[in-house]
Symmetry: C2
Subunit: 239 residues, 2 copies
């Protein structure tokens, strides 16, 4: 069994439920690699081999060791049955188009990990929000973006089928962290060289819901606006 | 952990992938109660305490004991942490409206089991299809429907949030079987008396994908037509 664990849903984030509903301690029992965000939508989380990093909207990257830190949304997995990838040169389009076709990903969940040189990288980082929380759409319209040249680092992320597009980000959802752990973020575009890495195809999605959280339970989900919002706030990483 | 196990997706059924991709033997390791359909969309399956019944479109109900029988789509669970329900009189509207509001189900998966007298029951039963399989939408437009009076029996079914509407049937998806196991089907409407039963709210959806099935992997899912098709083929049980 190849399992991807997801905590909460993108629809819940869209509704402005930014308070954390799972601790890092609990989350890491479900996977050693992954991505997510912290309470208040405080940055972009990347988890590599049980080490947790947070890219904050100032551009600074923190190594998080307080396992009581909470997340409102996260995806993790324990790597297994890896398919090796070694695209000499690759870019955002390779991952989003070529790889999806070659590996027939359109109806499955998958994870990717790619390490190498990045002549070009374009990222964004969610800025921490204060209560009363706005919707994710409002946040998304005003997020710091960054561009870099000549980095070395790792991209990790997940692919989700289109029919899960209100549950999680459909298509690829990719985060980056540099080898020196000084630069990280949500990937909007990249060009890379000498990449090596791997792909895992999941047969199981373990979707967890924070059913004891009253904000989660009480949310009114307006499906049409969720879809529009997700397209605007997450869309640029899925094209 | 309260887990609902689902095998494959409604979108895959919509695409006409009616060949079974999980055996009853395997399915029953994930739950002792549930519902689904057999290869070729051959009827409505209801699983009660590990016993498997099949309502066929002729109206006949079979007790299935061959554990190698395969299903293209199914949902099962092991009942746990049950919330008792004892609605004196209830109907389709009670389950779809009142219960959803009272128990705040809109953003969670849940299971229901209700046993009692049914002065009125309206069902449909999917007729077995031959290859080349049509789409689920085509099948749905020509399904035998049945009405009954004065039965005693059990309704079991699952509630899914709207954002999962292309993954599984959103809202309630209910199957019925009479106490004498002679009448069963997919519930379109009912009126009931002296009901007793229970509700379970799941914090985990274990969504399984038949990733080694080439039909599943190769399917082109057109999201817009999937949604339209699901509305037409499953909609009447969700209103």
């Amino acid at each position: 069994m190849n399992t991807l664990y997801e905590h909460s849903t993108l629809a819940s984030l869209m509704a402005g439920n930014f308070d954390g509903t799972i601790t890092l301690k609990d989350l890491l029992t479900h996977g050693s690699y992954g991505l997510g965000t912290f309470s208040g939508l405080d940055g972009e989380v990347i988890i590599l081999d049980n080490e947790v990093y947070q890219a904050t909207s100032s551009g600074k990257v923190n190594h998080i060791t307080d396992m009581n830190t909470k997340l409102p949304f996260a995806s993790v997995h324990f790597p297994k049955d890896l398919i090796e990838l070694s695209p000499e040169n690759a870019d955002f389009n390779y991952v989003n188009q070529t790889l999806v076709k070659e590996q027939k990903l359109q109806n499955v969940f998958a994870a990717i990990q790619l390490k190498g040189s990045f002549p070009f990288l374009h990222t964004r980082i969610a800025p921490k929000q204060e209560k009363p929380y706005p919707s994710l759409l409002e946040v998304a319209q005003n997020q710091p973006e960054f561009t870099f040249e000549d980095l070395t680092g790792t991209i990790i992320g997940y692919y989700a089928p289109a029919i899960f597009g209100s549950v999680t980000a459909s298509g690829w959802h990719l985060h980056f962290i540099s080898d020196d752990h000084q630069i990280a973020g949500h990937v909007l575009d990249f060009k890379a060289e000498n990449l090596s890495g791997n792909l895992e195809i999941f047969d199981t999605l373990q979707q967890h819901f924070p059913i004891n959280d009253s904000d989660f339970r009480d949310s009114e989900v307006d499906l049409a606006s969720v879809k529009e919002g997700i397209e605007k706030s997450e869309g640029s990483s899925n094209k």
